[in-house]
C-alpha cells in the first residue's frame, strides 16, 4: 500500500467490501441499537430500509433479539458457536462477535443455510423411505444411525439399536467375536422358539448384529455352536458357504428361516472415508430379497419339473420314430422316410433345448457343481473331437487338431470344458460351408492356456459378435434358420468358462471365417512338474485310480498315462465300485483313507463282487499297516508320498509280466490317433503316438514298435517317405506297417506299397484295425514276450 493513501480511503475500501458481501453483517452498540447493517443483512433479516439507530427489540427478528440482549447483559455469556434462527422461509446461521478494546459492542454475521437444511431433510426423507435397511456405524462399530427399514427388519426399536455395538465381523460370519451385550438382551428380542426351529430366525440376525453370536434360549451361542446344532439343516450349508469368504464391499446373501418365516437378506458393508482419507465408520446396507429368492427358486423348480415332464412324451415320439426309420417296423417309402426324418430332427432339437434350459437354470441358480481339477487340455480336446467321429466319417469332413503335447495343466472341470468344446466345434461345423474343415488349436501364454476353434464359414458381423453370447440370441440369416439350434449354447459356454475363472470370445471377419476361443488358468505350480519316467518300454492296460483327493488322483494319472496306461479315476467308494464294474481295469490303485468310508471297506466290497474280485488292488497310503493291508487282499502297497518309479514298477508287474506289444500310430489327425489308441489300449496294446513322418521316425528311434499304423498324407514328411526310410533301415525293416488312407494310392508309389503288411481305407473301423493288428502280431508275439527284451 502506498504511503499516500489516507486512513479514510482505507476505511472506505473496507466499507465497500462489507457492503458487497453475500453474508450479512450487523453491528450493535452496548445499548442494543443498530450501528450498521450491510445490504445482505437487511435482505436476510427482512428489514425494510436502513435500520441504523433502531433498537434490536424493534427490528422484528425475535430469535435474534433474545440472543443479543443476553449477550449485552453485564455477565451475559456469548460463545463463538454458530446458532440457527428461522426468519420466514429461511434458516440462517448466525455468529456473534464481540468488539475488542473493552467496548461492549457486538457484530453478528448472518449466513443463509436454507439450501443445506433442505438438503439434509431430503436425505432424511430418502433414508426413511428406502426399503433397504441402513445402519451407520462409528469406527468403534457403534450404531449411530438406523433407518426405519433396518429397525423393521431387525425387529428393533431405535433406542435399542442406536448406541449399541454391532459386530460386523460376526454379521459377516468372519471370526465370531465375544458377545458384547448380555444374554438377557438376546432373550428379550427372541421372536422365535429356537427349540422348535433347527434353523435361523430373524431374531438371530439381530442377535448376531449385536453380539456377533447367535443365541438360543437366551444363551448366546457362538457361530460354531450354532453350526454344530444345525448340521443337518440345509440352511446351514448355504450360510456357512456364504459366510466363509467375504470382503466388505460385496453383496452376500444370508438365508435365515424360522418356523416357516423365512428371511433372505443381502448385506453390503461400505467403509466411509472422509476427505482427509480417514476411516470414519461404515454403512451396513441390508436388503430383504426373500421374495426374489423364492421366485428364483420357483422358476428353477418349474424349469426342472417341466423338463422332466417333457422328456417322457419325447421319449415315445423319438423312440418310435427311430424304430420306424431304422426299419424295425417294416419297410417305408422314401417320402415317409423324409417326413419322419424331419420329425426326428425336430424332436432331437427339442431334447437339446430341454437340456440347455436345464443347464442354464442350474448355472443361474448356482446349483452347478464344478469338479475343478488339474487337467491336460490335449486330453479334453481329444475327447471332444472324438464325439464327432461318426459325423465326420459320414460327411468326409475333418476336425484338425493342432495342440502341442507340452501344454501345462490347467484348472478345469473336464466334463464341462469338453461340453464347451463340443458346442464350439459343433457350431463351427454347422456354419462352415460343405467340406470346410475346422481347426482346434491350443497355446500356452502367460498364466493361461487358450484353446481356439476356427472355421472357414461366413463370419460374423461386429454387431452380432457383441450379442452372440447372450441367451436366445441367434444371428438372423437364412442359414441359421435352416440349421436350427437353441440359441443357448454360447451363453452356457460363457457361464461355464467364467465360472472356471477363464475368458471366452470370438474373432471374426465377415466372409473369411470365425475363431471362437476360451482361456483357462494354469493349475498351481506343484501339479505341473513332469514326473520322471524310467526309460523302459511303454506299457498297455487299464488302471483305475481311486483317491478322494483329486489332485493326487491326477498326479497318479499323469504318471501312469505317460507310461502308456489308460487311466480312469474315482473319488468315492461308490464311484470306484461302479467304475470298476464297468471298465474292468487290470489294476486298481486305492487310497485306504477315503472321505466317504474306509478304503478297507471298499476293498472288501471289491473282493465280494464277482465282477471285481479278481482285479489286483495296490494300496497307496500314508497309513502303513502291512498286515492289515494284506489281510484285506491287497496285491501290494506303496507309501505316500508316491515314488513314481516304484508305482510304475508295481503296476507294471501286476498288469502282466509279459509286456504289451507296442503299436505306433502315425496320423496328423489327432482324433484318429486318439480313437485308435483307445481301441488298442482296450485290447491290451501299448501305444506310442506321432503326428507326422519326422515324429514317427523319432518315435521308432526311441522305441522300436511291434507294429506301425501309418497315415499317408501328412505335413512335413508324408507316409511314403516314412515307409521308404523304415524299409531301408537295417533293424527296422521287419516292422509290419499298416497303411491308412482316405485317397487312392498314387501310382508312383505302388511299388512302395508292396512292402507294407496291410492297407485299410478311411473312414476307419477301429475294431477292424485292431483285429488286423492282432492278426499281424500273432506272428511276432514270441519276439515280444521274450524276457530279455522286456528287461532291456
Amino acid at each position: 500500500m502506498t504511503g499516500g493513501r489516507s486512513r479514510h480511503a482505507h476505511d472506505a475500501d473496507l466499507a465497500r467490501l462489507v457492503d458487497a458481501a453475500d453474508d450479512g453483517l450487523i453491528c450493535f452498540g452496548e445499548d442494543g441499537i443498530v450501528l450498521y447493517a450491510n445490504p445482505a443483512a437487511r435482505e436476510l433479516l427482512g428489514v425494510d430500509g436502513d435500520p441504523t439507530g433502531v433498537a434490536v427489540s424493534e427490528l422484528g427478528v425475535p430469535a435474534l433479539r433474545e440472543r443479543i440482549l443476553h449477550c449485552l447483559k453485564p455477565r451475559g455469556r456469548c460463545g463463538p458457536q454458530p446458532f440457527s434462527i428461522q426468519v420466514g422461509e429461511r434458516t440462517l446461521s448466525c455468529r456473534i462477535w464481540r468488539a475488542r478494546n473493552g467496548v461492549r459492542a457486538l457484530a453478528v454475521s448472518v449466513h443463509d443455510e436454507s439450501h443445506l437444511v433442505s438438503h439434509q431433510e431430503r436425505i432424511g426423507a430418502v433414508l426413511d423411505a428406502t426399503a433397504d435397511g441402513l445402519l451407520v456405524l462409528s469406527p468403534a462399530d457403534e450404531v449411530t444411525f438406523a433407518n426405519p427399514a433396518a429397525l423393521k427388519m431387525l425387529h428393533a426399536k431405535e433406542h435399542d439399536l442406536v448406541g449399541a455395538r454391532v459386530s460386523v465381523d460376526g454379521l459377516l460370519g468372519m471370526e465370531p467375536s465375544e458377545p458384547v451385550l448380555g444374554a438377557g438382551h438376546c432373550r428379550e428380542i427372541m421372536k422365535c422358539d429356537l427349540e422348535e426351529c433347527p434353523a435361523y430366525s430373524s431374531a438371530d440376525i439381530r442377535c448376531w448384529l449385536m453380539n456377533g453370536t447367535l443365541c438360543e434360549g437366551g444363551k448366546p451361542q457362538t457361530f460354531a455352536e450354532k453350526q454344530e446344532r444345525c448340521r443337518d439343516c440345509e440352511t446351514h450349508e448355504i450360510l456357512s458357504e456364504t459366510l466363509d469368504v467375504l470382503s466388505h464391499d460385496e453383496y452376500r446373501e444370508l438365508d435365515l428361516q424360522c418356523n416357516g418365516n423365512r428371511l433372505v437378506v443381502k448385506v453390503k458393508v461400505t467403509p466411509i472415508i472422509d476427505s482427509d482419507g480417514d476411516y470414519t465408520g461404515r454403512v451396513v446396507a441390508i436388503r430383504d430379497i426373500t421374495s426374489e429368492y423364492e421366485i428364483a427358486q420357483m422358476k428353477n423348480e418349474f424349469v426342472s419339473t417341466v423338463s422332466h415332464e417333457l422328456r417322457t412324451p419325447l421319449t415315445s415320439i423319438k423312440g418310435y420314430v427311430d424304430l420306424i426309420l431304422d426299419g424295425d417296423a417294416g419297410e417305408i417309402n422314401d417320402i415317409q422316410h423324409e417326413f419322419l426324418s424331419i420329425v426326428k430332427e425336430n424332436s432331437d432339437r427339442l431334447v437339446e433345448l430341454i437340456n440347455d434350459m436345464l443347464d442354464i437354470s442350474r448355472i443361474e441358480s448356482g446349483r452347478i457343481h464344478l469338479k475343478v481339477e488339474p487337467e491336460y487340455i490335449p486330453d479334453i480336446v481329444d475327447g471332444a473331437v472324438d464325439t464327432f467321429r461318426a459325423v465326420l466319417a459320414q460327411t468326409g469332413r475333418a476336425v484338425k487338431v493342432r495342440v502341442p503335447d507340452d501344454l501345462p495343466l490347467v484348472t478345469a472341470d473336464r466334463d464341462r470344458v469338453r461340453q464347451v468344446l463340443i458346442n464350439l466345434i459343433s457350431n463351427a461345423l454347422k456354419y462352415s460351408p460343405e467340406g470346410g474343415d475346422v481347426t482346434v488349436k491350443a497355446k500356452h501364454t502367460g498364466n493361461t492356456v487358450t484353446v481356439s476353434v476356427s472355421d472357414k464359414g461366413l463370419g460374423i458381423s461386429r454387431e452380432d459378435q457383441k450379442l452372440l453370447f447372450t441367451k436366445f440370441y441367434r444371428v438372423d440369416s437364412a442359414m441359421t434358420r435352416e440349421i436350427g439350434g437353441t440359441g443357448l449354447g454360447l451363453s452356457i459356454c460363457k457361464s461355464i468358462i467364467e465360472l472356471l475363472g477363464g475368458e471366452i470370445g470370438v474373432k471374426s471377419t465377415p466372409g473369411s471365417g470365425s475363431t471362437f476361443w476360451f482361456s483357462l488358468p494354469l493349475a498351481p505350480e506343484e501339479m505341473v512338474r513332469k514326473p520322471e519316467v524310467s526309460g523302459s518300454r511303454p506299457a498297455g492296460g487299464t488302471v483305475l485310480v481311486v483317491d478322494s483327493d483329486p489332485e493326487i488322483a491326477s498326479l497318479i494319472e499323469t504318471y501312469l498315462r505317460r507310461r502308456g496306461y489308460l487311466v480312469y479315476k474315482a473319488y468315492t467308494a461308490d464311484e470306484a465300485l461302479a467304475t470298476a464294474r464297468r471298465v474292468k481295469p487290470q489294476v486298481i490303485t486305492l487310497d485306504v483313507i477315503m472321505e466317504d468310508g474306509d478304503g478297507f471297506d471298499l476293498m472288501t466290497r471289491l473282493r465280494e463282487n464277482p465282477d471285481t474280485s479278481s482285479i489286483p488292488v495296490v494300496v497307496l497310503s500314508i497309513v502303513c499297516d502291512e498286515g492289515r493291508i494284506c489281510r484285506f487282499g491287497a496285491a501290494n502297497y506303496l507309501e505316500k508320498p508316491i515314488d513314481s518309479s516304484r508305482l510304475l514298477e508295481v503296476v507294471g508287474n501286476l498288469v502282466g509280466s509279459k509286456d504289451s506289444p507296442l503299436a505306433l500310430i502315425v496320423d496328423d489327425d489327432r482324433s484318429v490317433v486318439s480313437l485308435l489308441s483307445e481301441t488298442l489300449h482296450r485290447r491290451g496294446f501299448a501305444v506310442a503316438r506321432a503326428y507326422d513322418g519326422t515324429e514317427a521316425l523319432a518315435a521308432i528311434e526311441d522305441r522300436v514298435p511291434d507294429v506301425m499304423l501309418l497315415d499317408l498324407r501328412m505335413p512335413r514328411m508324408d507316409g511314403y517317405e516314412v515307409i521308404k526310410r523304415v524299409k531301408r533301415h537295417a533293424e527296422w525293416g521287419s516292422i509290419p506297417i499298416v497303411v491308412m488312407t482316405a485317397h487312392p494310392i498314387e501310382s508312383a508309389h505302388t511299388d512302395l506299397l508292396a512292402e507294407v503288411a496291410g492297407q485299410i481305407n478311411k473312414p476307419l473301423s477301429p475294431d477292424a484295425i485292431a483285429s488286423k493288428v492282432e492278426e499281424l502280431l500273432s506272428g511276432v508275439s514270441l519276439k515280444v514276450a521274450s524276457p530279455e527284451e522286456v528287461t532291456s
Binding site: H308, R311, T312, T315, K318, G319, Y320
Partner: protein, 121 residues
C-alpha cells in the same frame, strides 16, 4: 436266449423298450410297477433289469434297493432308465446298487447296444 425285464409305468415307453429289444432277438419280460418288478425278477430270474425311476407306489430307486437286498435277485444287474438327467440323480441310482444309468429320451438302437454292453456281448 437272453432275458431282459423292462419296468416302466408308461405303457408306451414300456412297449418301446420291449419292442426295440425284441426286434434284436432278446426275450423281454414286462412289469409296469416296482412291486410286480420284484415278483417277476424273483420268479423269472432275468439276465438284466431295465428299471424306470419315477413310478407310483414303489419308485425305481427303492425297487433297486430291494432287488439288491434280496439274495435271490441281488446278482441280477440293474440299469436305471429315467428322465431325470442330473448327475446327482444318477448317483442315487448307483448308490442303490444299479450298474449304470440310461437317460430318457434314448435312441432305441443305442439302448440295444448299451444293453449288449452290460451283458458283455
Amino acid at each position: 436266449m437272453t432275458r431282459i425285464l423292462a419296468v416302466d409305468d408308461e405303457p408306451h415307453i414300456l412297449k418301446l423298450v420291449s419292442f426295440s429289444l425284441a426286434a434284436k432277438g432278446f426275450d423281454v419280460l414286462e412289469a409296469s410297477d416296482g412291486l410286480s418288478a420284484l415278483e417277476v425278477a424273483e420268479a423269472e430270474q432275468p439276465d438284466l433289469i431295465l428299471l424306470d425311476v419315477m413310478m407310483p407306489a414303489l419308485d425305481g430307486y427303492e425297487a433297486c434297493r430291494r432287488l439288491k437286498a434280496n439274495p435271490k435277485t441281488a446278482h441280477i444287474p440293474v440299469v436305471m432308465l429315467s428322465a431325470k438327467s442330473q448327475k446327482a440323480e444318477q448317483a442315487v441310482g448307483i448308490e442303490a446298487g444299479a450298474l449304470d444309468y440310461i437317460c430318457k429320451p434314448f435312441t432305441p438302437s443305442d439302448l440295444v447296444s448299451q444293453v449288449r454292453g452290460f451283458l458283455g456281448e
